[in-house]
Amino acid sequence: MKSYDLIIVGAGIVGTACADYASEQGLRVAIVEPGPIGGGATAAAMGHLVAMDDDPAELALANYSLGLWEEFTHVEQIEYNRCGTLWVASSEAEYAHIPEKIARLAAVGAQAELIDSEQLYRLEPSLAPGLRGGMRVPREAVVYPPGMARHLLDRARARGVVLYAQRATAITRQGVQLDDRTGLAGAVLVATGCALPQLLPQLPMRARKGHLVITDRYPGLIHHQLLELGYADSAHGDADSSVAFNVQPRPTGQILIGSSREYSSNTPDVSMPTVRRMLERTFRYLPALRQLDALRIWTGFRPVSADGLPYLGRLPDNAHVWVASGHEGLGITTSLGSARLVIDQYLGRATAIDSRPYDPARAVACV
């Protein structure tokens, strides 16, 4: 039986980030992925690198990760574009909350600025009239997530990481079993996102469906990733179905339009009522989009843990099984910090940020 220090199951952005960092630290690593590299939630994601300030643990992980992303800004296949994030306030009440958001970001060293309505329309002339202002976070960026997963895997393989293009069917006493019945021996790190319950049914995981629409090329229409300040209510609320204004300028001039969240649908079909609801929300903020052509609509599923924070660490009562899954809608941003947190714990090192909020033990179902 082939033996490794670590067998990573799943080659999405989280699994490949773990393979990259683990191999850089000198570990002998295998990665198991039957499908395309970065072909699950990674391929469906918008690729917005962003820090959300409303949960302290999530902010710490996102902020740590954003620092790590700086190493990759010049990698061509990642299409890194530091367009910044512009959170849009539609009411006086939303505008009034901006200073406390800026203070929370400043507390972790992230710079953000209050934008009055005059500056708002100077930055983004296509926004609908009547908006109150916003908050601009200049360091944030957009990337092409599957390109990052491939880049991370290429680096890892150059250091000797072995890719098994097979399905891991079970975790065994020694390691994992593959679908051709061969076994691999070593510690196991499960990074399979929504598919986590297949290998680790003791960890709660729900799939939260999202829709995205991409337009033809309209360069210069918008300049920042634009979100409504109410976005966090949709992202962090537990409503069965919600939409929020969230649009992104791609480097091609195309505009990527989100966002929707649904728990009740588990099929990948496009729901036109949901798309219509999402687009009506978008047109309220960007009426100029109404007359443009969309090229494609797709869906994806966000892996949602029991409490919305990823599971990062060792499973209790199981010395050789580790997990890095459940990043919901923030996994592109937090992939790099997640990999460090898990691998540093595996190596018995101190982690750069407090790892306790992500300890999978918090959520393991009592059997």
């Binding site: 033809d216 090329r217 309209y218 091609t252 007359q291 443009l292 052509d293």
Partner: protein, 80 residues
Amino acid sequence: MTQVRIDINGQVLDVPAGISVAAAIARFRPSMRRSVSGQMRAPFCGMGICFECRVRIDGVAQQRACMTPVREGMQVITDG
């Protein structure tokens, strides 16, 4: 024949009413636009399927010239 006056790339032109923007452009230019990689492009299907004839019409980019009838005062930019 009724004529309408339109503007193609800043050039004011009188064309027959009822023709498509693609037909109007073809009266004066051999090609429609350049692709993202710089190649010359022209209408291929003429029925709204191939998207090779996209131009900017009255400020809105990526409009299919073959599917859009000319209108008095229309502003067309072929590489917009």
